[in-house]
Symmetry: C2
Subunit: 314 residues, 2 copies
């Protein structure tokens, strides 16, 4: 591989993810600065020794001058406003994001005409806490970081985003945005919906039911303890894919209901057991030998991601 000059990093939004990213980028030796709309996180970040501002324009002018990789790290409802500022002040910079849903962000990027320099990302890491105060550089260690592999992606931007994720300690799984959104609907958003429903059913049984609850209920409802605003933001931003996953599950449960009424849960239990075994035995393998920019590189990365591969180096 040739030697790369890694771009500086401009992080827009200093919450748990953006704050941790600023810390991780600096820890990895990058020049990096952050912007946050509200002043308190900026003051705290500066007090912690980081380069941060609440002046979006100045953060972006600096990005333009240094050709920084801009990372959008604000919640979905704030994405449009931040992208409009990027389009105004730094339209030529490489651009990525760390929002938990990819197709809606890609659509917002397209609306401001920045698709050419954009490659979406999603580090699958988090804690129950939020804000700069909860951020830490090691949040992304050994996490999975999805990097969007859309047709037309710029190989240089794709490589820069991937190298940032790797520098933060994550492995990179390449995936097309819609495939990512459908996958996380199944394995992240649907679990939250089912946990909320299960918790509701348990509480409807009153103190007797809650008093008898043991491990299966405790584990099955754990994520229902997540702050409601976070769960809503995550699920509602991915509503289309989540509706598909939920409809599929409603059909599976309705079919199980009919077999149970006839005396058997064999089909559901057999399928569920096999599925969990497949999950437990799934092994991530290393993607190697695919070079961004080579003919067919995006399809090759997408195919590798679909088959359980991940990049540990680029």
């Amino acid at each position: 591989m040739s030697e790369h000059v890694e771009p500086p990093i401009c992080v827009l939004g200093l919450g748990l993810i953006g704050g941790s990213l600023l810390r991780a980028a600096v820890a990895a030796g990058r020049t990096a600065w952050g912007y946050n709309r509200s002043a308190d996180p900026v003051r705290d970040a500066v007090a912690d020794g980081f380069d941060a501002t609440s002046d979006l324009r100045s953060a972006l002018v600096r990005a333009r001058e240094g050709n920084a990789l801009i990372v959008v790290a604000v919640p979905m409802p704030a994405v449009d406003a931040v992208l409009a500022a990027v389009a105004e002040h730094a339209p030529g910079c490489p651009l990525t994001d760390v929002v938990s849903v990819k197709a809606p962000v890609a659509a917002a990027v397209a609306r401001v005409g920045l698709t050419e320099r954009y490659v979406g990302g999603h580090p699958m890491a988090g804690t129950a806490d939020s804000g700069w105060g909860a951020s830490f550089a090691e949040l992304f260690n050994d996490a999975v970081w999805v990097v969007a592999a859309e047709d037309g992606a710029d190989p240089a931007v794709w490589s820069a985003v991937t190298r940032l994720a790797l520098a933060c300690g994550s492995v990179v799984i390449p995936a097309e945005s819609n495939e990512h959104d459908r996958a996380v609907a199944r394995i992240s958003h649907l679990p939250h919906v089912l946990a909320e429903a299960l918790a509701t059913s348990g509480a409807a049984g009153g103190d007797l039911a809650l008093g008898l609850a043991a491990g299966s209920f405790r584990d099955g409802t754990r994520v229902a303890a997540t702050a409601p605003d976070l769960v809503r933001a995550m699920c509602e931003a991915n509503a289309d894919a989540l509706l598909d996953a939920l409809d599929e599950t409603l059909a599976v449960l309705a079919a199980a209901r009919e077999t149970l009424a006839a005396g058997s849960l064999a089909d559901l239990v057999g399928a569920g057991f096999d599925a969990r075994q497949r999950y437990e035995k799934a092994e991530r393998w290393d993607i190697t030998g695919i070079v961004p920019g080579d003919i067919g590189w995006l399809e090759a990365f997408r195919d590798a991601g679909r088959r359980g591969g991940a990049l540990r180096a680029l």
Copy 2:
């Protein structure tokens, strides 16, 4: 309280629960013996120093002669046959069981005319393993043991069953059989059904989805790793109550689906979060001052169980 002469214990079935009960009863100083239909567990129990036989008749004749408390610890499909033998050889003995569903066992007991001397039980303890080899005396330590509080229950039998549960290290929650079955449908059987459905949905997303799965999926599908036969036996034996709980949950999920299609998951997420908070904050309190046999004792115990109380002593 007056001094009690504790009855000997005759355990019918030496699997995980029955075997552990035999061990715990002996550890608590009781005279106890066990029966198992297949010879291997009997041989192993004897080798471990316990009194065990594969001759059901002799075990029951001995129970009759010593007025033992008989504990039915066989799986639901074997309950009828074992109860028929009890009715033939030891119809006057106090009788309980440790099966995970209560109304169907009570119905089976009624069919052989043993209701008068029967008080059902359900120690809510278990492991992923089964059989005598997996049994251990401490299985019931700090577990919840439901003791059925049906109208007409014999106070002496009720007390004997409760004292056995307490001697094994459990706390006792009194509950009417149907209420127990409905409660465990919500907090034990429904979690299994939802875990199976969630696992199925994740695997349907292929290696990409399974590769992105993190904590919410792992916890939400944990009990889908349980042996399918055990899940089926548990859920199918409690089909009526589980169908009610499942229908209720299907309605909750269908309503959430409609609000999500309109852009919001607020109702589901709010209710689920509140329910999980209620579960986390639920505190068991000690039932005291209710004496078996006093006027209204069963209703008083049932009411206390409904309100989250448990017996730690009798």
